[in-house]
């Protein structure tokens, strides 16, 4: 189980090379944070891990099967066991929260159940439980266009929690949340991965959150993995090198490193970034 990428390379249709010789493996239940400046290839890596992009070079193995050698049926069943939290929650605004969350299990439900659930929600208790973990239990019957950006982002996370995948991928899952909520939300994700034994891979812009919540840190720059270390072994020098294109200042959650586009200010001291690690 877990996953293995070996020598993966990917060039997008527009000619931009997004991944170069990426090799990465994790055993089932491991938790990894992928960090790096914007455009480093974090999203592309997650899409390859989600069997939604086929790399031009290299081998992919997810949950003990090679997705691109599977027939359509088994490939669909494999995808149903992978849950992706997208950067922009892919939820139609007119959908109700309960429907948006229940949609997490559409890959496993039989067709009749999916259709009748549009008329009367099939598993309101389950949807409520997923939302309650993220502090949104009271919004079950609200329409998604009534929610704030941060609430919608958490609905997208609740959908994946309800899906209970074996491989959980999260692309900037807390980018629209304030620091307190970001912390609580990551705690819920980590708890779900521990409870279900799911592998969790999250790309995070905020280095402090990555170091706090993930035992293993993967640093990416220009489509390559530049380091892959336990969180305790990541040094400030490595981080400055990783973020060289952003002025060498590792971003911290809730702090804009470039206010008014002037010179980078001193980063406000954050507990996670202070001792030993930075």
């Amino acid at each position: 189980m877990g996953f293995t990428l070996s020598g993966c390379g990917l060039v997008h249709a527009n000619g931009h090379r997004a991944l170069e010789q990426v090799s990465l493996a994790a055993v089932q239940g491991e938790r990894l944070a992928v960090i790096g400046a914007s455009g480093a290839g974090k999203t592309t890596l997650l899409r390859v891990l989600g069997a939604s992009l086929k790399p031009g070079e290299g081998e992919v193995n997810l949950l003990a099967s090679a997705p691109w050698r599977l027939a359509p049926g088994p490939l669909r069943r494999l995808r149903a066991r992978i849950g992706t939290i997208h950067q922009q929650p892919p939820i139609p605004p007119r959908l109700r929260v309960v429907t948006a969350v229940l949609a997490g299990r559409l890959g496993r439900w039989p067709l009749w159940r999916a259709i009748t659930s549009l008329v009367y929600p099939a598993d309101m208790a389950g949807a409520h439980a997923a939302l309650a973990q993220l502090g949104l239990g009271d919004r079950l019957f609200d329409r998604c266009d009534r929610l704030s950006g941060g609430q919608l982002q958490r609905v997208g996370i609740a959908r994946v929690l309800y899906q209970q995948p074996a491989l959980m991928l999260a692309d900037e899952p807390v980018s629209s949340l304030d620091p307190t909520l970001a912390d609580q939300t990551l705690a819920a994700l980590v708890a779900a991965s521990e409870r279900d034994g799911a592998t969790l891979v999250a790309s995070l812009h905020a280095v402090d959150l990555a170091l706090k919540w993930f035992p293993r840190i993967v640093g990416m720059r220009s489509g390559r993995v530049v380091f892959d270390l336990p969180a305790g072994s990541v040094t400030p020098e490595m981080l400055s090198a990783l973020y060289a294109s952003e002025g060498g200042v590792p971003p911290v959650h809730g702090v804009d490193p470039h206010p008014h586009d002037s010179a980078a200010p001193e980063v406000v001291a954050s507990p996670a970034l202070q001792p030993a690690r930075l």
Partner: protein, 280 residues
């Protein structure tokens, strides 16, 4: 940091500019001969002779006929037209929905990746598009002419003609509406292993419902009007009545029929507005 005072040469000019100017010029150059060939001379409308002829023709239309036996006939023909348009639209929907479902690219599972069977799936989508094209390439009145010979005079031929031609139209526009809404939700569902039909219902329809409903009602309105033209070739309804009134040079009856049309269009508009509000 960048300063805005003197932009570098690379940003001094919008790169899209020459393409836009070229496009506008090409459009005008192409349009002008088309207007000439189609003998488009609107100023003849205001020629004194033309105005006289039109005035004479229109004067015969007033007042609208209110003879009781004609009104009974008008009511019956209206019902026949409504029945023909509604049954035709139902048939069109039954044809269009599955074909649009097959033709919609946003629901393709094999394009993710791209995965196995991507060429075969593209072929199936193209064939569905081709079927839709054939259905709508022949105008409904021609279908009606052919079907009247097979099924005899009456609204039955009209229903079938409408169903076939409008099936092609609806299918094409449905799939285009589905493509032009936000396709990310459906894509995300397909990437999480759900099937096509479920991705349509949970991912695309919620975003496109208003648009789909108002286009369908608009087509129903068109079907009501198209039934007039088909009436002229013997497919029953208000059109057949109109044909008879025109042949007997009874302008009053013709204008009463036209007023009925106006009311039907108003009705369609009301239904459409109500549906859009309900689905908002």
């Amino acid at each position: 940091m960048t300063t805005l005072a003197s932009p570098p040469p690379a940003v001094a000019r919008d790169p899209a500019w020459s393409g836009r100017v070229g496009g506008i010029i090409a459009f005008v150059v192409a349009l002008w001969p088309l207007l000439a060939w189609s003998e488009f001379r609107p100023w003849l409308l205001f020629d004194s002779q033309g105005l006289q002829a039109m005035r004479g023709f229109l004067a015969g239309f007033l007042p609208p006929s209110t003879a009781p036996d004609f009104l009974v006939l008008l009511a019956r023909s209206t019902l026949e037209t409504l029945a023909m348009a509604t049954a035709g639209m139902a048939l069109a929907f039954v044809l269009a929905a599955p074909l649009a479902f097959v033709a919609t690219r946003a629901l393709s599972i094999s394009r993710i990746g791209p995965g196995p069977g991507v060429w075969r799936a593209a072929g199936v989508r193209q064939s569905a598009r081709f079927v839709l094209m054939v259905l709508r390439a022949v105008p409904e009145v021609v279908w009606a002419l052919v079907l009247v010979r097979a099924l005899g005079l009456g609204p039955g031929a009209g229903v079938l003609a409408l169903g076939i031609a409008y099936g092609g139209l609806l299918g094409k526009v449905y799939s285009e509406i589905l493509e032009s809404t936000d396709t990310q939700p459906a894509r995300a569902l397909l990437e999480a292993g759900s099937g096509r039909l479920v991705a349509l219902l949970y991912g695309l329809v919620p975003g496109a419902a208003q648009e789909l409903a108002s286009y369908t009602v608009y087509r129903w309105e068109c079907a009501v009007r198209a039934s007039v033209v088909m009436g002229f070739v013997g497919a029953g309804g208000l059109g057949q009545l109109m044909d008879q009134s025109m042949k007997m040079l009874n302008g009053g009856e013709a204008s009463a029929i036209l007023l009925t049309f106006l009311l039907l269009v108003l009705l369609a508009d009301g239904i459409s507005a109500a549906l859009r509000k309900a689905l908002a």
